[in-house]
Structures are given as C-alpha cells and as structure tokens.
Amino acid sequence: MTPISPIETWATIVTVAATAVAGDVLTAGAMRRIGDLDEIRAKSGLGGAISAVVSSPMFLLGVLSMAASFFSLLFTLSNVEVSLAAPASASLTFLGNAFAAKIFLKENVDRRRWMAAIFVCAGVFLLAK
C-alpha cells in the first residue's frame, strides 16, 4: 500500500461517495420517470419491465456512475486502509444521498428522514470498528 497524504485520502473517499450518490440519484430518478414496475410488469410482462428500465438513458448513466464508484473504491482500497475507507465512504454516501434526494429528486426529507440518515450513517461507522 502506497502511503498518501490525508488530503489525498479524503479526496479518494469523497470521490467514492460522490460517484455512489450520483449513481443512486440517477437510478432513483430513472425509476421515478419510468413508473411503478409492478404495474408495468402486470401490463407488459417481465420483458416489458426490463426493456423499460434498460432503455432509459438516465438509468444507464446511473449504472455507469455506480461502476465508476466501484472502481474508485478499488483504487481507494489500494491506497487507504479498509477500516477507514469502507465505513467512511458508506457513511458519506448515506448523508450525501439525503442531500441529493432533497435537491435533485425534490423528495420530502423531513426531520424523521434526516434522523434516519444520521443514525444509519453513525451505525455503519460503528459496525466497521
């Protein structure tokens, strides 16, 4: 493992979280636009539901972001200890998703959901201890 500076460490961790948030928000936005998959499956069958999903450019962009997040996590793990990289990126992703869902998806992130994001974020961090 090549030692890197704290700034580089946190830059790689933030990159992992940011690409993961982008992937989650783009995927969620695509699913919102496509509509209820249960209803589409009832109407057009499983093939119709799969086709509705994979033909969405927003979904494909989301999957691309998730892949970027995966590879940046691999890069991070080759330079940063897993005991810091994994919980820090997972926790940042939970908080980032709450912000991004409020801003981009216009979700009603009320006090209850903020508390959920913060509790889960802290819980994930403690689990990795």
Partner: protein, 158 residues
C-alpha cells in the same frame, strides 16, 4: 394522500435487505475457497465462476438489484436506503449466531443505531408527492411515463 406500503411491497423491501447481505456473505465464502486473486492471475476470476457459492452469491445480488429497482419505482430513495442498511444488521446477526463470531460493543451500538434509523422511516410515508412541474426534466418524464403506462404515473405524480 399518505403513501403506505402493501404487505407485498414490504416483502420486496425484505428481499432487498436479505438478498444483499446473503449475496455478499455467499460471495465472501466462495472467494475464500477460490483463493487470493492478483493482477498477474486474473484468470482465477473465471475459475471463480465455477464455484457454487460464488454463482449463488451473484444470483442473490442480481435479485437484490431487481428488487432494489422495483422498490425505487414506488418509494423515495431516502425511504429505501435506510431499509437496505438493515442488511448490515442481518449480516452481523448471522455472523454472531451462525458463524459464532464475536460482536464487539461498538458493533452492537452500530446495530442499535441502524435499527433506530430504519424505525424512523418505516412508519412514515414511502413516497413524496410532486406536482408535475416539480419533477426534474418534467417534459421527458411525461414522455417516459406515457411510454411506461398511464396508470404508473398516478403513484408518483399528483
């Protein structure tokens, strides 16, 4: 209108939690049997595909992605994500009671926090209602919704 979930949809969320954690556990168990993979021996990844545990893990994770996308089609991201985090608790409990691993006080505290976090959102509304013009890129959304079926639009758009 308050969006609450039917028992069938709670089962989808349960599938999201279980398939992710069980899939990761199966993959992890399979890869310990396959052995360490280095850049010089990437061919070992192909041989990993012949391991039953690895294949089962991949199937579970495919099931996770399908149920995760289904959940996102009728619930908010900030509702689904804390629910998926409950999978961490499942893994911790499996490791304690099945694999007989020791769970530290920190981990029990983490489990407690995640359970509380999931509890916060579990009884709340699952979906935010939007006016059509509030949805990002409403024009193309309308087109996509029309293609996907008119009835599907009623759940996400007031």
């Amino acid at each position: 209108m308050k969006h609450t979930l039917s028992p069938q949809r709670y089962l989808i969320l349960l599938a999201v939690m279980l398939t992710a954690s069980v899939g990761d556990t199966l993959l992890s168990h399979g890869m310990t049997q396959v052995g360490s993979v280095s850049m010089a021996h990437l061919g070992m990844l192909l041989s990993a595909m012949r391991n039953l545990w690895v294949v089962s893990g991949i199937l579970c994770l495919l099931g996770f992605f399908a149920s995760y996308l289904t959940a996102l089609s009728w619930a908010d991201l900030t509702f689904v994500l804390p629910s998926t985090a409950f999978g961490y608790v499942v893994v911790a409990l499996l490791s304690k009671f099945w694999l007989h691993e020791t769970i530290s006080l920190y981990r029990w505290a983490g489990i407690l926090l995640i359970v509380c976090g999931v509890g916060f959102v579990a009884n709340g509304p699952s979906l935010t209602e939007h006016a059509p013009d509030e949805i990002a890129g409403a024009d193309s959304a309308e087109e996509a919704l029309a293609g996907a079926g008119e009835s599907a639009a009623t759940d996400g758009v007031r």
